[in-house]
Symmetry: C2
Subunit: 385 residues, 2 copies
Amino acid sequence: MTFRAHTIAGVLAQTIPGGAALHEPEIGGAEKARVDECLRSGWVSTAGPFVERFEDALAQYTGANHAIACVNGTAALHACLLLAGTRPGDEVIIPSLTFVATANAVAYCGATPHFADSDEDTLGLDPAKLANHLEDIGHITKGNCFNRRSGNRIAAVVCMHAFGHAADLDRLAETCRHYKLPLIEDAAESLGSFYKGRHTGLDGVLSALSFNGNKIVTSGGGGAILTGGAELAEKARHLTTTAKKPHPWMFEHDQVGFNYRLPNINAALGLAQMERLEDFLTRKRRLAMRYKDAFAGVEGVRFFEEPEDRRSNYWLNVLLLERECAQHRDAALKAANEQGFMARPAWTPMHMLDMHKDCARMNLDTAEDIFARLINIPSSPALVS
Amino acid sequence: MTFRAHTIAGVLAQTIPGGAALHEPEIGGAEKARVDECLRSGWVSTAGPFVERFEDALAQYTGANHAIACVNGTAALHACLLLAGTRPGDEVIIPSLTFVATANAVAYCGATPHFADSDEDTLGLDPAKLANHLEDIGHITKGNCFNRRSGNRIAAVVCMHAFGHAADLDRLAETCRHYKLPLIEDAAESLGSFYKGRHTGLDGVLSALSFNGNKIVTSGGGGAILTGGAELAEKARHLTTTAKKPHPWMFEHDQVGFNYRLPNINAALGLAQMERLEDFLTRKRRLAMRYKDAFAGVEGVRFFEEPEDRRSNYWLNVLLLERECAQHRDAALKAANEQGFMARPAWTPMHMLDMHKDCARMNLDTAEDIFARLINIPSSPALVS
């Protein structure tokens, strides 16, 4: 079958008849019961037992020592960067091919993103290019890595597990160790995704999860910080609760803090969703395999499978057009959307946005190439039984 | 009756027997019905009809042209400051006697707070001292007001309606106009409070509301921006939704934006609460009048009443100790809390916190004086029928 603008829409129509959104939450009786329980208790705000239970469920599922629930994934990532020591004037290495929150969180610290390229095998940071780039521009002085071109300190490296596929954590962590750079994982999309048997979010010093409405588990809006360190966890709780010093009645604060904790009502919803995570993962995998089969015989387009040694949550299923078909991407998107199948390209790479066009960067050919060829297709667990 | 450490606890025990928290939400059948409706719809996240309905209810009640629901009051105030043009290196005049969120929101802009004194008649910014201070240090060049001592631009004045009592808006607005300073209202505590018949939050260019769990109306966590300007409202919506350019599938952003919009599930709760606001106000006023009577005959302590021309929501009821009794404040707090009546002092003034001790400031004697003498006492609407 030759690739045409309507090819993808046609396969979708056969695979998931009737149209579909990109990723919709499933909210049912379990969620209603938990939220009702929360409402009955009267504890709906930023203190309450569901916050702890949700955090416990996250820690237990991922294997993280500590989970700190936040108001959303952006807030969680911002806190991770601050806790890792990011200061105004620093640079933070992030993939250019990411959702804008990754770059925004850097900007909130008064730092600037320094863009790194992605790897077509994982859709995440390319470890070889990162190592080469740091060899070229990195310079270690007094335990800190500096960009020898700009003179700025590089505060951290953030990898992002794009669309739920784990980046190459071992090699990234090795490079980060070599350059004395803390590794932070933007695991907003990868709850339920594993790398060599470990859940994503455990290799970074700190990691951020997201429970936005389009994620595999939602709390309405929400996020969490994962960390292995007890001291970092305590600092995270302090920083995200306005840095208030504990006292039965005095209001004193010992640093500029944030109102970043998750309300109890959102945690109640998130807890109910966590209890259904395995079921969501099973059905999302079934949908992914169905797509794999459906697109197997289609020329010009490849269904992206989880990389070797990884187990992906298949958060948003990915099609990659062959290079000679990339010119048809927008027509394919238009056709799919017109037929009721929500489809979208990857995020416009950050270095192509006006506000970030002057940021430090390496060669970003693969990020641009993936952007030109990638299409996300409907991925809700409800699409299969 | 001579004032002793146990005097306040004793009056509280007679007025609201059995102990009480400071301010608890009332969550009942109406809230459950709205939230269940939201859960059934599946729209629990940052898009959904309850967000619009909650915004409409806020605009209608306050009389604001536009209300933009946010994830919390701090986020709303941060957005207000950015929309008013606050830039890194600026100073923003705020009362020193305020909750830390006011100062934090300034810091998030890369600006520094410039502390102004409060007025014992309103507990808010002192308009006379502000005018004198600006006459002393203010300097207008090319339509901008600069601090002639520091050389920094002053970006805005934020007034805060402390504990629900409206600040002197007319005189503050006049001074702001004179010095070309945008007035922003931190109305986090003043939903249901009026100044000369107008709802608080209408005199500022932009204003911030809060629906945290301790507020008169709660959405779990939540806040809102109020503004009269259609263009500002549009910019507020854009800035708080990651500054994403509208497009059916492309992800492009034209500035560093924020993930600051309120989830639909929180809006559903907030909407149900808004429908009960009048009832909350009635009962809170009844409680305030009961306190007024109860403390009328008590020497050494005065129940703080709404200033003339204002109608306060009596968010947190305020006692002011006479100066000669101020030394007993902590003992009085201890006695009340030990007997199960949650009581607390005012927030430690911002200029007394380590992180802000070097900020620009005027004489702050009244802020320190009020801090030394103020006690908040239990104020939940549930305390009276």
